[in-house]
């Protein structure tokens, strides 16, 4: 899937050391985001995946090495220039009291605006398009406080979309949503990917990663353990190595992508597992 050679990717990390204060999370980390991919970063808690995303979005500067965007160190750009190329859906954002959907989405236009150029025709069109793509156009005039969790997250996605960047980073976008809204959002991201965006998401759900991602990066203890297509990365051996979880990997009956079924403690299936030979998997 990834046709881009790692050395030429638009966005990549080159032997970077990233950490907080004196605590180093990653050392000599090199990661390339294949152009036009839907890359998903997976790994256990505190493996450095969110830190990786923060450095890709310039929120955290590596203490050694560099993050390269379009051939130059990301820190050599003006802040607004980076914001016109790379967008971010942060893990937590705050909606100001009494803000309406369109008002919030319009805030995403900031990097394209100046002190006296605050609302051009381009801004208007970008906001309309972003709201249509995320199906929140009908909510346009509503207060954000009144929306459901799933609607609200779509509004935040619309804000990031209005920023009009080729590359979008998504930090655990589905974490606080119920399963229906999770799937809805993942399909929205797939649409955006097909529309030409390069997406990088940090996800907890391996099955979502395998089903929707085109390129997976598995991290553990701040280092990349494996990367490649979902079929290459999501294997029983790798899941055990990265997460310490014994599991079966079976084809997803709907999408055909690899699906992780945890083995857990010894137990007999409630219904005889006729398609999968659980016993032999446990033993071998």
């Amino acid at each position: 899937m990834s046709a881009t050679p790692p050395g030429t990717a638009r966005l990549r990390v080159e032997s970077a050391t990233i950490g907080y204060d004196k605590r180093i999370i990653s050392e000599h980390l090199s990661v390339a985001i294949p152009d036009e991919s839907f890359t998903v970063v997976v790994g256990p808690n505190a493996c450095g995946k969110s830190t990786l995303l923060r450095s890709l979005s310039r929120l955290r500067k590596p203490s050694a090495g560099q993050v390269v965007l379009d051939g130059a160190d990301i820190n050599s750009y003006k802040t607004k220039e980076v914001a016109r190329r790379v967008g971010l859906l942060p893990q937590t954002s705050i909606a100001p009291d009494g803000i309406t959907v369109a008002d919030l989405v319009a805030r995403g236009r900031y990097p394209h605006q100046g002190f006296i150029r605050q609302w051009t025709g381009d801004d208007e069109q970008a906001v309309l398009r972003a709201m249509r793509q995320t199906s929140v156009a009908d909510l346009s005039g509503r207060l954000v406080d009144e929306l459901s969790g799933g609607q609200r997250q779509r509004v935040w996605v619309a804000m990031a979309l209005a920023q009009h960047t080729d590359i979008m980073l998504l930090d655990e976008p589905t974490t606080f949503l119920d399963i229906t809204h999770q799937i809805e959002l993942m399909e929205l991201f797939t649409d955006l990917h097909h529309a030409g965006h390069t997406l990088v998401a940090v996800l907890h759900d391996l099955n979502h990663a395998a089903r929707y991602g085109t390129h997976l990066i598995a991290m553990k203890d701040g280092a990349v353990v494996a990367e490649g297509s979902p079929d290459e990365v999501v294997t029983a051996e790798l899941v055990e190595e990265v997460f310490g979880l014994r599991c079966l990997v079976v084809p997803d009956p709907v999408a055909g992508s690899p699906q992780v079924v945890p083995l857990g403690r010894e137990r007999t299936p409630r219904r005889s597992a006729d398609k999968v030979d659980v016993e032999s998997a446990r033993n071998g």
């Binding site: 979005s57 971010l88 893990q91 954002s93 100001p96 009291d97 150029r117 051009t120």
Partner: protein, 352 residues
């Protein structure tokens, strides 16, 4: 305006101005509210210029202002009463914007330069200049600025624990404010009687005896600072979305926040240097402005207009309701105290 693009429904009526390189979007309601406030302010200003031991009619006031009146009426309006009215308007606007900046940055309606100790700190700086150095007005302004800044840094450092969380900063600020209050009392007690009298009267916040000189210096500072606040208002709006969102949208978070804090402290300190700490306007004005305009988050212009009006009206009441003129600070304390109690009550119920 382009007509072929369907306009975005913001849920509120918007005023879009586009001409050449200018493209601005304003809320109709904010524009109307600010315009109405401006008219009310103008009326209140004329009333304040009319009232006094030598009562004047509105015609006389307008004639004096436009230079068609000379002699005693001109002196009363332009030389005696106008500096006070101008001071009330400018200082009120400065306090309103200062409060708006802090309430937006800390996302808390309690975040007020008066409550978290910055105006007490400015007062301490000014007291030291008056009582110890016996300095000039310029030195007084410098002392108040320095005092406010040092207090802001101290509160920030004391509240710092892996970043600064709004509510902790406010609690620490209230503590620092109380300590500075006792320091100020001690400084006044140590001083000789004449100095102590003037310092204490000034400490309540008063526009009595404001001169054109002070208005000019203070006004120039405030005008510059308000302009800066206006430029920083856009990053401030983005910061309300959270630091990560703001940064990813191209805001340089640390410089923007530092700039806003400096502007906010400087506005309060400038007012404090000229008139002493006028309490509560910075606390109340941004919230009244927000409720009137129904904007998302705190906006600067309505806070400035409401602050100016509040300060002018409070000063008018202070001068004319009691047999002897009171300091304006007493009126604002009376007006704002009840509101503060209500706020503390609701905040505590929400957080604890």
């Amino acid at each position: 305006m382009n007509t072929h693009i369907p306009p975005v429904d913001f849920g509120r009526r918007m005023l879009v101005l586009r001409r050449r390189r200018i493209a601005v979007r304003l809320q109709w309601r904010s524009v109307v509210v600010c315009a109405v406030l401006a008219v009310v302010i103008a009326g209140a200003a004329v009333l304040a210029l009319m009232t006094g031991s030598y009562a004047l009619g509105p015609g006389q006031v307008l004639a004096a202002l436009t230079g068609r009146e000379t002699g005693i009426v001109h002196d009363i309006v332009v030389e005696w009463r106008l500096p006070r009215v101008a001071a009330a308007l400018m200082f009120g606007a400065a306090l309103g914007v200062s409060g708006a900046v802090f309430q937006s940055l800390l996302r808390n309606p309690l975040a007020d330069p008066g409550i978290v100790g910055f105006s007490q700190g400015s007062y301490t700086g000014a007291l030291i200049v008056i009582l110890v150095v016996n300095g000039s007005y310029a030195q007084l302004v410098g002392g108040a600025l320095l005092g406010g800044m040092v207090t802001a840094v101290a509160v920030y450092v004391l509240a710092y624990r892996r970043g600064v969380q709004g509510f902790r900063l406010i609690i620490v600020g209230i503590g620092v404010s109380a300590m500075l209050g006792s320091l100020n009392t001690w400084l006044i007690l140590k001083a000789d009687l004449d100095q102590a009298m003037s310092a204490a009267a000034w400490g309540v916040g008063s526009l009595n005896g404001v001169s054109w000189n002070q208005v000019a210096i203070g006004g120039a500072c405030i005008a510059g600072l308000l302009l800066l606040a206006g430029v920083l208002g856009r990053p401030m709006r983005q910061l309300e979305l959270g630091d990560d969102a703001a940064a990813s949208q191209g805001v340089r978070v640390s410089p923007a926040r530092l700039g806003l804090i400096l502007v906010g402290v400087a506005l309060t300190a400038t007012v404090t240097a000229a008139s002493g700490p006028i309490a509560f306007i910075s606390l109340v004005a941004p919230q009244i402005g927000r409720r009137l305009t129904r904007t998302a988050g705190i906006t600067l212009a309505p806070a400035a207009f409401v602050g100016a009006l509040l300060c002018l009206v409070s000063d008018y009441l202070a001068q004319h309701i009691a047999p002897t003129p009171l300091p304006v600070g007493i009126i604002t304390v009376i007006l704002g105290g009840g509101y503060l109690g209500y706020l503390l009550f609701t905040e505590a119920r929400r957080r604890l």
